[in-house]
């Protein structure tokens, strides 16, 4: 018989109280682990989705505004590019130090060209990159897969009066319309989208690139670092982070994290209060027993130790089972929160067990101190 065994035996004597004490920790840690695990998975899912959503870095040729005029007469101005981008620049972009962070580098080429007698802007993009670069496009028909195929923006389709299966003639070549974009509210509504090589030919600029869109995975890294590195690799280019995308990504992730922390804190506080109340009640109920222990020579430290062992056992068992339940709950509900590949996050579970132990022991401090301070005579009224 030692203090540990005495504490363990007492738990079985007061099963319902032990269960009630443990329930607070179980629910608190279960909720914490479920939310922490879910938040972590949602963060990752949001990150993945936002990364899939599109680019966050735009690379264009460096330009300068040139004002045209004669004396006081202004003839407007024009932008003059210092240099041009080419397909070869993609290699330089992919060669930066943080190249592992680059999810996609997509070249675009814009050219104004004839389309069945109407002057329209053509957008060239590698056919296989369309899904990655513009995942939000909805197409009536099918996307382009090879040269000679085109997609029409909704306004362009209306202007040309063409639909899937139709043809458009430009530069002496006939292009087959594979699909029409649903309205996007963007400039591509009025464009013809074709394979990069086709538009470069129409614009008589083989290998030419108007701009690059880069999608960088930047969960924990400042996108500015990647921008700086690309700028260093392409001195003649203007490299800019699309701030809105970066900020909205960060805001969304932060919101999930704040929600998790807030809810967990409330539930943990309630759990701690339950421990405090039940252990205080237990001390009250066991006043006489504590008095007997003091009378037979238990020091105050031994009384403290007894109560801490009791709560320690409860905390360990309930926080471990709460952590398991939390993981299971997170696994079950994750698909309903947009997590496609739900997994088990061990770190919230381990943190939860440690937190549960801490919570239980912390909640025991005031009642244990009260118990240890009980005078043996006060405790044993019948003596």
């Amino acid at each position: 018989m030692n203090i540990r065994k005495l504490a363990w035996k007492n738990l079985f004597r007061r099963k319902s109280r032990a269960v009630f004490t443990g329930l607070g920790i179980f629910l608190g840690i279960g909720t914490f682990v479920a939310l922490a695990s879910l938040t972590a998975q949602m963060e990752q899912a949001v990150q993945d989705k936002l990364d899939r959503f599109g680019a966050n870095i735009l690379i264009t040729p460096r330009t300068e505004q040139l004002t045209l005029g004669f004396g006081d007469i202004s003839l407007g101005g024009t932008q003059v590019a210092h240099s041009r981008l080419t397909a070869a620049d993609e290699k330089a972009i992919r060669g930066i130090e943080m190249k592992e962070r680059l999810r996609s580098v997509v070249p675009f080429f814009l050219a104004a060209a004839d389309a069945s007698g109407k002057n329209i802007v053509w957008m060239g993009i590698p056919a296989m990159e369309i899904a990655a670069a513009r995942p939000w496009w909805k197409i009536s028909g099918s996307p382009i897969r090879e040269k000679g195929e085109i997609l029409l923006g909704s306004e362009a389709a209306a202007a040309l009066d063409k639909g899937p299966g139709g043809t458009v003639v430009s530069g002496g070549r006939t292009f087959r319309v594979t699909g029409v974009l649903h309205p996007t509210g963007e400039k591509e509504d009025g464009m013809v989208i074709a394979a990069l090589g086709d538009v470069q030919s129409l614009g008589r600029n083989p290998g030419g690139v108007t701009f690059f869109e880069v999608a960088a995975l930047c969960k924990d890294c400042p996108v500015e670092d990647i921008v700086a590195q690309i700028g260093g690799a392409l001195p003649g280019a203007r490299v800019s982070a699309i701030r809105q995308v970066v900020e909205s990504r960060k805001a969304a992730v932060d919101q999930f994290r704040r929600l998790g922390i807030g809810v967990s804190s409330i539930v943990l506080a309630i759990g701690g209060l339950m421990v405090f109340v039940t252990v205080m009640g237990s001390v009250q109920e066991r006043t006489k027993e504590i008095g007997v222990l003091r009378a037979v020579g238990f020091r105050r430290k031994a009384i403290l130790s007894l109560l801490f062992w009791e709560t320690g056992w409860i905390s360990l068992l309930s926080s471990a089972s709460g952590a398991l339940a939390g993981l299971a709950a997170a696994l079950l509900v994750a698909p309903h929160f947009g997590v496609e590949q739900a997994g088990v996050a061990s770190s919230p579970a381990l943190l939860g067990v440690a937190l549960g132990m801490g919570l239980g022991l912390f909640g025991t401090i005031p009642p244990a101190r009260r118990a240890a301070a009980l005078s043996p005579t006060e405790a044993i009224r019948s003596l």
Binding site: M1, N2, I3, K5, L6, K9, N10, F12, R13, K288, E289, V292, L293, R294, A295, V296, G297, F298, R299, R300, K301, A302, S305, S375, P376, T377, I380, S382, L383
Partner: protein, 234 residues
């Protein structure tokens, strides 16, 4: 030679000025080692208060308690706990056994904070249970024992550290007369083995075994009679 236990002008007051109750008034006593003292008196006479003060369970409002030359009021709470463990064995009227522990485990409770091996503790508990006539009942819970057997377990628990002093509060108060006699026989045996026994009781029949009887009345020592011989009526 100094007395084994000495009370010097001990008074004990409960409550505040509005509801003040005097439990002991200026009590002075000396008890020698090996005495078997029975403390009697009406309810409210101060018997239990005297016992708790003698056992270092509470500090008197005034006066001093010396045991083996040690002033109990000079000890810290933890030193006092050590002193109780080493010097005093308590036996309560209601046994105060822990209901979720077996007889053996109850006897082992005072040894729980010690670093002695479990085997050694169990051996000591078995030995004591045998000495109080409970051999073969070591694994029984208090609910599976009679009142007399529970009191025997409590006596075994009080003896676990082999204290020189036993303080008993109405140890036969919850028992029928036959079982009470058996328990008193145990106390007589312990006294014969050199223990100092101080027993609070209402029952004058308990006086037959004592060497001294102290009668309290309204917090004062009304009578303090050394008996002619042990185990003789007052």
């Amino acid at each position: 030679m100094a007395a084994f236990i000495r009370l010097e002008n001990v008074s004990m007051l409960y409550g505040n000025n509005g509801t003040r109750a005097v439990a002991l008034r200026d009590v002075s006593l000396s008890i020698e080692a090996g005495e078997y003292v029975v403390i009697t008196g009406e309810s409210g006479a101060g018997k239990s208060t005297l016992l708790t003060i003698l056992g270092g369970l509470q500090v008197p409002s005034s006066g001093a308690v010396l045991m083996k030359g040690v002033d109990l009021s000079s000890l810290s709470a933890d030193r006092l706990a050590d002193f109780r463990r080493e010097t005093i064995g308590f036996i309560f009227q209601a046994y105060h056994l822990l209901p979720y522990l077996t007889a053996r485990e109850n006897v082992m409770v005072p040894m729980s904070p010690l670093r002695t091996s479990a085997r050694e503790k169990a051996g000591r508990a078995n030995e004591l249970l045998t000495s109080v006539g409970l051999s073969g009942k070591e694994e029984r819970l208090p609910s599976e024992l009679s009142g007399g057997e529970c009191q025997r377990v409590a006596i075994a628990r009080a003896l676990v550290h082999d204290p020189p002093v036993l303080l008993a509060d109405e140890p036969t108060g919850n028992l029928d007369s036959s079982t009470g006699e058996q328990i008193l026989d145990l106390f007589s045996g312990l006294h014969k083995r050199g223990k100092t026994v101080l027993m609070v009781t209402h029952n004058r029949a308990n006086l037959f075994r004592a060497t001294r009887a102290i009668r309290l009345q309204d917090g004062l020592v009304a009578k303090d009679d050394p008996l002619m011989a042990p185990y003789q009526a007052l």
